[in-house]
């Protein structure tokens, strides 16, 4: 995994029916990415949130996955390691012929940060 235990750490998981779950994650402020995003002004890269959704999807289904397509991903608020130390990653995986259609969102008690719908395929 590219970002697990570097950008985020899974604190707990609540599995629901079928392939649905909510992962609670800590956003790790010591992640090296903040040196460059942006110098003196740490902001979570939106695309790191997409990778986090991909990695949590892999944890949930137990298989390596690739992002073949993103139908739509909306970034509705800016997350930072300071303002957003913990977040929830909510996932629903629907099996397709080549992998899963993944519907996901990232939020905390205050705000919704990401709404994602994409096509993840078996690697």
């Amino acid at each position: 995994m590219l970002l697990e235990n570097k950008f985020y750490r899974v604190v707990s998981v609540e599995k629901r029916e079928n392939l649905s779950a909510v992962y609670s994650i800590d956003i790790l402020p010591e992640c090296e990415v903040y040196k460059g995003h942006f110098p003196g002004n740490p902001v979570c890269p939106g695309v790191f949130n997409i990778e986090t959704i991909k990695e949590c999807s892999m944890l949930l289904c137990g298989k390596p996955l690739r992002i073949a397509g993103v139908k739509q991903c909306r970034f509705t608020a800016i997350s930072t390691p300071e303002k957003t130390p913990r977040a929830q990653v909510e996932l629903l995986l629907t099996p397709s012929e080549t992998g899963y259609t993944v519907t996901a969102s990232i939020y905390d008690s205050q705000l919704r940060y990401v709404e994602f719908k994409g096509n993840l395929i078996y690697d």
């Binding site: 942006f38 695309v47 992002i67 993103v70 909306r74 970034f75």
Partner: protein
Amino acid sequence: MDIAIEKLIPQRYPIKVVDSLVEVNGEDAVCQLTLRADNCFIEGDGKMAEPGLIEHIAQSASAFAGYRAVSSGATEPPLGYIGEVKGFQCHYRPSLGETLLTTISMGPEIDGITLISGVVKSGDKVVAETRMKIYVA
């Protein structure tokens, strides 16, 4: 073109994923990136993770916007954020050493939000493509 990329985009190591703005032609621009181990999207198998391609397209658009800003007198590159990714397709993950040439088409700006599209190529192969909304904070 003869402008240091650091003057055009605010991202730095390890997430800077554009080497240079190669050309600007009206509403289109071309950016270049050669994949090295110094960017944070390279996975254990030496290939770039898919979100790195989205970031590369976003930073290419940012370099284009930075070029326009610098051309009209700005001294600092603008901070842009991705508002939405739509219709992203990753055809394959490129490997260390590959050089990506990415064409950005800049659409109209409405209320600070700009619609762009980007196509990433390596040689004559299409690596990835997407549409995106970018806003300047």
